[in-house]
């Protein structure tokens, strides 16, 4: 490998390489689409849906003229769910908290894992011991479970709290261990010795020599954190869906599949058709697709960045 003494020039060139990569562009485009969707909600509320909170409110809206759930129509482009809420309104309303939690978790994981992992590999000794001990311990506490324990049934626990807690546990746990392991192999490379001999200090070696090699792997960890945080937050919303305090992608799925008709007594007399007629397909599809697209955006950006920086990287 060519020695990377001129780290800054290299980083700038790498940045262009990353942005030119097809997967990264596709991922960014999907992400931008989600952001536009989230931004559309306040705009629509202020314009087209202005003064119609009782119909288009994402939490308590209900169109009394229709029997719900309904399919797409002019008044409700994505239909309504079983509770009579406009699916486009709930979807655009739900994107913001989902994006907040995922982006926050991903950024925190990137920041923590790179900082802690590279410091552990560079200084070794007690720093390394502390990082690996904490990392090993945090690996035993899956962040999603911690989030469910803390967040279920507590409306005060917001999606930003969820993103922060997830990022903290994942960033100091499994992500830190992976980045430390990568940093240990980077630090053995000849260009690190070359930088030392050239008189570079610890900060410069970590910042300009090690960092570019760790970023692609941190990107993969950030993707894992984003997808994990997305599922966790959605599940908290799913569990809290009944009290209508948490409208989100998870509660959209709950409303679509778990709002069941009043069941007749007796085992044989239940008619499956009653149940199927109540499934809010548009709500289900919209929320499922939004979650898949957010996950896909993070995947494409992370994998594309890594492929651009390390062309022979394995999956």
């Amino acid at each position: 490998m060519i020695a990377l003494i001129s780290g800054r020039t290299q980083s700038r060139g790498t940045g262009h390489q990353v942005l030119r990569h097809l997967k990264v562009r596709l991922g960014l485009a999907i992400f931008a689409l989600m952001l536009i969707g989230a931004a559309a909600h306040p705009l629509l509320q202020a314009t087209i849906w202005n003064g119609q909170e009782s119909i288009y409110g994402p939490e308590t809206g209900h169109d009394r003229d229709l029997e719900h759930p309904t399919g797409p129509s002019l008044a409700h482009p994505l239909g309504t769910d079983a509770l009579g809420r406009d699916v486009l309104s709930t979807l655009t309303f739900s994107l913001a908290p989902a994006l907040q939690a995922t982006v926050l978790a991903a950024l925190l994981v990137g920041l923590l894992s790179i900082t802690v992992g590279s410091l552990a590999a560079y200084f070794r000794g007690w720093v390394d011991l502390a990082v690996t001990s904490i990392g090993d311990a945090f690996t035993l506490l899956p962040p999603t479970i911690a989030l469910l324990v803390v967040g279920v049934g507590k409306p005060a626990f917001g999606m930003i709290d969820a993103g922060l807690l997830f990022g903290l546990l994942y960033g100091l746990g499994p992500a830190a261990l992976v980045i430390r392991s990568r940093a240990l192999s980077v630090i053995e490379k000849p260009f690190i010795d070359a930088a030392r001999i050239a008189g570079a200090g610890s900060g410069r070696i970590i910042g300009t020599q090690m960092l570019p090699h760790l970023l692609p792997y941190a990107g993969i960890q950030m993707m894992g954190a984003a997808i994990g945080a997305l599922t966790s937050v959605a599940f908290i919303q799913y569990l809290g869906a009944t009290d209508q305090s948490r409208v989100g992608l998870g509660s959209m799925i709950y409303t679509a599949i778990d709002i069941q008709p009043v069941l007749p007594t007796g085992y044989g007399s239940f008619n499956m058709g009653d149940f199927h007629a109540r499934i809010g397909w548009t709500s289900l599809l919209a929320a499922g697709l939004a979650m898949t697209l957010i996950a896909a955006a993070f995947y494409l950006i992370a994998v594309g960045s890594r492929d651009a920086v390390i062309p022979n990287a394995r999956r």
């Binding site: 690996t139 506490l141 999603t144 599922t231 896909a296």
Partner: protein, 411 residues
């Protein structure tokens, strides 16, 4: 295999002493991890769950002092729940269900994922590879409640309708009325029989590969499946097995008691992608090695190069990375268990139901809803200890097979 550290003699590397020293180091490290982990759980509970402070400060029978708790943990005592029942007892009741689904689904996911990973990556067609990646990712990232809904709606329900259309009894009560045994015993016995069979299959495959017997690894799984089918036919319980396997009657919808089989299938779908990706990465790393070229030059058949040469070299890193994914798979399982609602029929309407007790998920969520802190801590600690033990087993297996790991020359 050459040792990269010149200070260590080959004699020491090959001896059991090296392995023992490694094991000792890992046990000590695991103990430190456990202490930090339990402390972390205490901090989490103390700082983030406000309702608990009063109970802790009151100093009543529910003692959650850290030192007391660690001493209790060493004796297997996890304290008392707010309801007065020993937490360890509640967990012991729930653990078999979770372990059953985890083990059965995990083994099936490993078999499917490793097979797909090897086949797809070895042929390396772009379309096949892309499709496998997409399918694996979709299941891996899919919201578990949505996955279970799709399984029920597009899998179980059409089968239920088909059974009614064929004029067969469409209710589990009818299916089991004259059978002479109930669903509970069938699910329980059949489930454990399936798990034991799968374990035997795994061991036989590993043994066959190691000893160089070609037919055993290839035939043991089909043979086990045929054997199970013959056993079911001989006992004349086909209709009941199918009922438990696919249909589980209309009352499942009514009272919300899910089938462990549904949970196993959902867990299999969530988990196989991870194994497949790891296998593919491993195969991709190894396929261009010199020994593969040599084997090809000697006209060794492709499947033999793949399964007997490359797969052996890939197996170890795959094991390590699969175990690294265990915490996330366990998380998926907890959500799946919740959604399938295993064991919840005991809570509903006093209806007759399968006595398959709820898993850790049921215990955890009921504790979270009741703010029963000792049970929450108990479940978290149990999961942590479970993961710790599995990690220790994996590390020991790796160290036994790869001297570089136990000598610390390979991270």
């Amino acid at each position: 295999m050459a040792l990269s550290s010149p200070q260590v003699s080959e004699k020491e590397a090959g001896s059991g002493l090296g392995l023992l020293a490694f094991l000792l180091r890992r046990v000590v490290a695991s103990f430190v991890s456990l202490v930090v982990f339990v402390a972390g759980v205490f901090v989490l509970i103390d700082l983030l769950i406000p309702y608990d402070n009063a109970a802790i400060n009151a100093g009543d029978s529910v003692s959650l002092g850290f030192v007391d708790y660690m001493a209790g943990l060493a004796r297997g005592d996890l304290g008392l729940s707010y309801g007065g029942a020993p937490v360890a007892g509640l967990i012991a009741e729930a653990l078999p269900t979770t372990l059953f689904i985890f083990a059965t689904g995990g083994i099936l996911a490993y078999l499917l994922g490793s097979w797909l990973g090897r086949i797809v990556e070895w042929r390396s067609g772009r379309i096949q590879g892309g499709m496998a990646t997409a399918v694996g990712l979709v299941f891996y990232a899919m919201f578990p409640p949505l996955l279970i809904f799709l399984l029920v709606h597009f899998g179980r329900d059409p089968l239920l309708s088909a059974r009614s259309a064929l004029g067969l009894p469409s209710d589990s009560l009818v299916v089991f009325r004259d059978a002479g045994f109930d669903e509970a015993s069938l699910v329980s016995f059949g489930g454990w029989a399936l798990l034991v069979t799968l374990l035997v299959v795994l061991i036989a495959r590993a043994l066959g590969r190691r000893m160089g017997w070609r037919l055993l690894p290839a035939l043991v799984l089909p043979a086990a499946l045929v054997g199970m089918a013959l056993a079911v036919a001989y006992l004349g319980i086909g209709r009941q097995v199918l009922d438990v396997f696919f249909f589980r009657s209309s009352r499942e919808v009514e009272i919300g008691a899910g089938s462990p089989v549904l949970a196993v299938v959902a867990f299999l779908l969530v988990a196989f992608g991870e194994v497949m990706f790891v296998w593919r990465a491993g195969i991709a790393d190894e396929r261009s090695e010199d020994y593969v070229l040599t084997a090809r030059a000697k006209a060794v058949p492709e499947y033999l190069i793949r399964d007997r040469h490359v797969a052996r070299n890939v197996a170890l890193p795959v094991l390590a990375r699969s175990f690294a994914a265990l915490p996330f798979l366990l998380t998926g399982l907890i959500i799946i268990e919740y959604q399938v609602q295993i064991g919840s029929c005991a809570l509903s309407q006093g209806a007759e139901c399968v006595h398959w007790s709820g898993g850790l998920s049921t215990t955890l969520f009921s504790a979270v809803r009741n703010a029963d802190t000792p049970v929450i801590v108990g479940v978290l600690v149990t999961m942590g200890v479970l993961l710790l033990v599995l990690r220790l087993v994996a590390e020991t297996a790796q160290a036994a097979l790869d001297p570089r790991i136990r000598l610390g020359t390979r991270d």
